[in-house]
Point group: C2
């Protein structure tokens, strides 16, 4: 039988209100939001004020409350709340990807130690049930690669640059006006947000704990009109694509813009939508698409976690238990388009085999092999000199065009 859940909610913004709405509109659901902790004492609220508190301990120390739903922005404060709650034996549901990704190992251990459940489906790709699917459906499947579009803000911007030929700056402005992008969009446009999500999925798909600082994230801030024109002419869309892949027990994780063609299902994931491709050894290519953001989709994901709690659901972390030998490497090559200023830039990035090179009055680019380790080392250089680096999606095309395959083998490129 379903357990009675008394929920203490932290935060009552867009997602919190969405959740409240969802809870009150779902049939047959017995969970109860007992108390809501908020910060701003002066903000007008849509609910009776008796349900609100400004003192977090009124929720955390209340033995009647057995579930904490944490939906605040501040990852540091959220971490304190979540730790305290777990130690008090409360189950926790959170949508905070930064919190989860930054403290993944500690949180995983803490919830095992205190035998409570910490669920965070809403932290990755909104309404797409990707963590649950990895945990429960692909738990015994050997996975080869996870990739996708994990960030709705940048996907909205990139969609507009291609479909409406907007410049990066105008597209960002439009996204902000529509409420898709924060006034400080750094975490999205520099690729931190999708990196946190990739780190979380890496645990559930390959059983590894990656630290944010060891994972490359290059966002879309240096995208310019030349890159957009290049992509359009070649029939590409530009997407910001996190990749998690394995090669001989080594896992590599990186977040980079990627030029993709129509053969890739992500090509049709536009605007604020998210998509995930799961490549399994036996099941083949799986593709999931859904709304990546917004009060209702995220609220629905949180609700689903709450519902799972009522049936004592916990992540089993089977991949972690199966594959302790897996470790993380950045020593992998990718095929990339690099818009550069002078040959010094290419030396800095240590580009290998150059497939194409173009020099023009308005810009220069190469399509070359480059090591993720070099990109990570030179990330500041790339941003400072406003180079644009984008993975090129048609990895197989090189082979098809009769290029020497040994080029790939000699540099350990997976294609």
């Amino acid at each position: 039988m379903a357990k009675k859940l008394n929920i203490g909610l932290f935060g009552f913004g867009c997602v919190g209100q969405g959740l409240y709405h969802v809870l009150n509109n779902s049939k047959g659901f017995t969970a109860n939001i007992t108390k809501i902790a908020v910060k701003d004492k002066n903000k007008p609220r849509t609910l009776d004020k008796s349900i609100f508190t400004f003192d977090k301990y009124e929720i955390l120390d209340n033995p009647e409350i057995n579930v904490i739903v944490e939906l605040i922005d501040d990852a540091d404060e959220a971490f304190e709340i979540v730790k305290y709650a777990i130690r008090k034996g409360k189950h926790v549901v959170t949508a905070n990807k930064k919190l989860v990704a930054t403290h993944l190992k500690e949180l995983q251990q803490l919830q095992e130690e205190h035998n409570v459940s910490l669920l965070y489906e809403a932290s990755v790709c909104g309404s797409i049930p990707i963590i649950r699917t990895l945990e429960e459906y692909f738990d015994n499947e050997q996975l080869n690669k996870i990739s996708g579009i994990f960030n709705g803000t940048t996907n909205y911007i990139l969609t507009k640059t291609i479909s409406e030929k907007l410049s990066y700056a105008s597209a960002l402005k439009q996204a902000q006006e529509k409420g898709f992008a924060e006034s400080d969009p750094t975490s999205d446009v520099e690729g931190f947000d999708p990196k946190y999500k990739a780190i979380i999925l890496a645990l559930h798909s390959f059983g590894v704990f990656a630290k944010p600082e060891e994972v490359l994230n290059i966002g879309i801030t240096t995208l310019d009109d030349n890159d957009i024109k290049y992509a359009s002419e070649k029939g590409y869309k530009i997407k910001l694509v996190p990749t998690i892949r394995q090669n001989k027990n080594k896992i590599s994780i990186f977040v980079l813009p990627k030029f993709i063609k129509q053969e890739n299902p992500l090509y049709f994931v536009d605007n604020e939508f998210n998509g995930v491709i799961v490549e399994g050894e036996f099941s083949g290519e799986q593709f999931l698409k859904g709304k990546g953001a917004g009060g209702h989709p995220t609220g629905a994901a949180v609700l689903s976690d709450i519902s799972a709690l009522s049936y004592d659901y916990k992540y089993a972390f089977k991949k972690l238990k199966q594959s302790q030998a897996n470790n993380i490497t950045n020593d992998v090559f990718i095929k990339a388009y690099i818009r550069y200023n002078s040959v010094v830039d290419l030396q800095a990035l240590e580009t290998q085999h150059i497939f194409e090179q173009y020099k023009g009055e308005s810009y220069n680019y190469v399509v070359a092999l480059v090591n993720v380790k070099s990109l990570l080392k030179q990330k500041d250089y790339i941003l400072k000199n406003r180079l644009f680096v984008s993975e090129v999606g048609d990895e197989n095309e090189a082979a098809k065009q009769g290029l020497d395959e040994s080029v790939f083998e000699s540099v350990n490129l997976e294609y």
Copy 2:
């Protein structure tokens, strides 16, 4: 902790061998295939003959065997095996959609009564984890509609008719040569196979038991070159699309060809792939795509069910428990393309509001509103007179083009 599973396997065809391969190639899996029941005594086998038996009771009456994996073709015999196994207190995993759909209510009740678990993820859309996703992730979400491509054989044929301009007959022949279609393809091409799958999903998404005879299935056997030409000219692809949708606590289920445009994610589900669109009230549109058939994808789905059994997983059938008021209706209108011979045909189908009508030397068609109930009543007439009926996917276009919306309301069309 994971429970030790001793598996008795029925059938050792494509999927059974796939499963065996998957089991032997997955890390950390402790289930054990103890015995395999097969029929043909003379067929050469790839495994040592001591593992095989020709007597089903050697498995069914063996108290050491706690899990039956049923992978035989014959739905009637499979039903006897499954019933017997459940009554003996064994858990059952099956991939047999006809078995499950035809006896859904009895099987659901039987497994509750005997407190065992009956899992059948592999029976619907191969490697796409749709039943599990509906059961566990959308268990508290109000769903509005499920639709998709549930049959790889017909999708392969339809893909070839559009992309390579093959006739229906040549495409079918090619599918048979490639091993996608059975020598008797009736269940696929007449839409029975996707109907069984729709019936299974209707239970897990809306909590209803539908009987096969009360659900319309019109397949692709009457498709001709005129229809293919029409679709191509208008920018449509033709897909065989089962739909399950709700309107005011009434659920309608039907399987029909459908003309769809690029806006529909199913447009890009080609060849033997399957896709499912889940439309939730809060989560919005979810889309899942994966391989719909073949030994490995289906084997992976069966494996995932076996793995779930080792953690005592059972379907909770929450939608069934939530929505006992839901009942099934065929009294809904759809917008359809109908290729007909004479006006008598349109009278027989009781077409309503005609949006377009074409008469030519080689064929006639209308785009009109037609009631699913009328189609069900006249199914034999449609097949006998070789009419082609296809839902038209751009339901919203009528409204956009300024057609009188009251037309739709008056006939209870959901658009």
